[in-house]
Amino acid sequence: MADPEHTSPESPARPRTRPWVSVARALRGFYRVLRANVLSFVGFVLVVAIVTVAIVVVLAPHLLVPYGATQETGVYSGPPTLLRWPPSFAHPFGTDGASLDLYSEILLALPLDLGIALAIAGFALLAGGSLGLIAGFFDRPGSVGGYTSAFILRTTDVFLAFPSLLLGLAIVAALGPGLWQVMVAVLLTWWPYYVRLVRGEVLAVKHLPYVTAARAAGVSERRILLRHVLRNVLEPVVVYFTLDIGTVLVTFSTIAFVIPGVVSYPRPPEWGSMLSFFNLNYPISQYWWEVLFPSLAIFVTALAFSLLGDGLRDVLDPRTRRALVESVAAPNPPPEAPELAGTAAANPSEGASMPEGS
């Protein structure tokens, strides 16, 4: 009679899945996401390549950096005629104003720049994200949480009113030159975006039916926050973090470029300071390689992370994900799937809750 094999299974009481099973499942999902979009796959490959190169340069520089030994000491003991040589077989990217091989310099700068970008974005995520969680989750009008949230939001608004570059420049001007100072400057301009982002997500999730159901079932507030809210918030945040790595790098190097000498040159090697050292007074066409190759390095790194992040965004951002469900979805086809009925209508007209761009 009724054949249980060919009917779709009723969902049984779901047993507790082991952590490694969920990790494996997440990885598989991640892989499927990557494959769905050519661009995100390209971005992923590039990012992996870049990170690998960075790791190799740090751990075993002699493998990839042709003039490593000389560079590390910072003291050049070769002939002064190596100043600003155009690209040649011996120096594929040419040499720069400190008579150092540009190719090696760029490679040596890679882990530093990557690390800087990761650190800034990471701290911004932690600081801004926590504040955003608080501002979103404990936002009950009239309570202590409510006032805290309002204060956090107002402060965020004020910070966001400054164009990021300008605020960064002003902070650098206040703190003085130096790598750490510039990092702090960029960090201080970046955290507000995460507050807005996380708060927006928390608000969106807070009122979802299943959160209310969990509350009604007696789940503690803390558990709700950690398990339900956080998990939903994590996806778009990861996307923005990936995108941000590229943008932070670009902003950081722009500050290094605008204020000459803010990041010392040539040590530590950093792409922005390489460009800044070559200041605008020189005719560019004369020493084009000094501009091109560091710029290319910044561009390629930022592009790789942006490709990856933007590709991820299609799938992880809950708004665009539903629209693209066809290509990545599970085997069940969507012909009778309930439409986005009411998504456009149900969004309260609150104005932007998520930041765009950097």
């Binding site: 164009p163 570059l165 300008l166 002003a170 206040a174 670009v250 204020i259 629209a323 932007a352 761009g357």
Partner: protein
């Protein structure tokens, strides 16, 4: 239904009032960054200055913070925005330069809207296929390009082949008065078409670079909201009325998708203004971006008063842009009540 003209006045009024705390916060934050957080500022702000100047500066910074703030606040509000090291007053300099930046930003915005939004529509229409990928590579490249790199590439490699100028607003000083300081507008007002064309020529590269770098914001947002809107039933209804694909996309779908795209205007303004700092300097455009570049010490001549003033002015610009975006959203989305 809560959307009468009188309601609109209330709507705008409330938003304006909500501005004030943010403006106050902006002034305070600018103060904190430049005065309170400053670590040994004097030698950096006044390099190669005489010892007496340095001593004056030190004294100023050693004063108690409330005194400093009162001085700062009254100066700011009183219009006495100080002078540069060479003695040229800041406020008139900013006032004359600001319209040029406004013109640049508006031109870039126009380019972003005219190019970026249709690109977003195309990307949404062909989502997942090669036009989508092409559009994404395009705007992500813009995103990944540092401003100065884009500007320098444009100056060195694009200007000559395209025959476009790379500095200033006009080729030669204009023979007509400049009431608005907006180069194109002034030329048109004076009825001087050759100069107007020249002004547009000068505008193309800087606005183009600025737009290219920030195109992603508009394009991505348009694409995302179009993707949300296209599967909805009313798009199908529009097709079933017998409207052509173009009409359905641009008259029906886009009208809904644009509602969310305008909310991005505020962030866009911030990014565009940030971009002007480098672009104006590279293209010798006489705006406050270049002024900011120089005040921050980009050319070795920092200007403390100028820096503060320019930072505050930029922040006010962003706040105003956000306000406009908010109001626009309230107008465009018929579901918003003007309360």
């Amino acid at each position: 239904m809560g959307r009468s003209p009188g309601d609109l006045a209330i709507f705008v009024g409330r938003r304006l009032v909500q501005l004030l705390p943010v403006l106050l916060g902006v002034i305070i934050l600018a103060f904190v960054v430049t005065h309170v957080a400053a670590i040994d500022p004097c030698p950096r702000w006044y390099p190669k200055a005489s010892p007496s100047t340095l001593a004056l500066c030190e004294a100023q910074f050693r004063a108690p913070i409330p005194v400093q703030f009162e001085h700062y606040f009254t100066q700011l509000l009183g219009g006495n925005w100080g002078t540069s090291q060479l003695g040229s007053p800041v406020l008139p300099a900013i006032a004359t330069d600001a319209p040029a930046t406004l013109e640049l930003v508006l031109a870039a915005l126009l380019l972003m809207v005219v190019i970026g939004i249709p690109m977003g529509v195309v990307a949404a229409q062909y989502a997942g296929r090669w036009p989508d990928h092409l559009v994404r590579v395009f705007y992500l490249s813009g995103w990944a390009t540092p401003t100065y790199v884009g500007a320098i590439i444009a100056v060195v490699y694009l200007a000559h082949p395209l025959g476009l100028p790379t500095s200033g607003e006009y080729g030669a000083p204009p023979p007509f008065p400049q009431p608005t300081h907006l180069s194109v507008v002034d030329a048109l007002l004076a009825g001087n078409l050759p100069y107007a064309a020249d002004a547009v020529d000068h505008l193309v590269l800087p606005a183009g670079v600025l737009a290219f770098i920030n195109m992603g914001i508009a394009t991505r947002m348009t694409r995302a909201s179009m993707l949300e809107v296209l599967p909805l039933d009313f798009v199908k209804s529009a097709r079933m009325k017998g409207l052509s694909n173009l009409v359905v996309l641009y008259k029906h779908a886009l009208r809904n998708a644009l509602i969310t795209t305008t909310t991005v205007l505020g962030v866009t303004a911030g990014e565009l203004l940030a971009g002007t700092v480098v672009i104006e300097e590279v293209f010798t455009w006489p705006g406050i971006g270049a002024y900011a570049f120089q005040s921050m010490g980009g050319t070795g001549q920092p200007n403390f008063d100028g820096a503060i003033a320019v930072v505050v002015v930029f922040a006010i610009g962003v706040v105003l842009a956000n306000l406009i975006a908010d109001i626009l959203y309230g107008i465009l989305d018929p579901r918003v009540e003007w309360r």
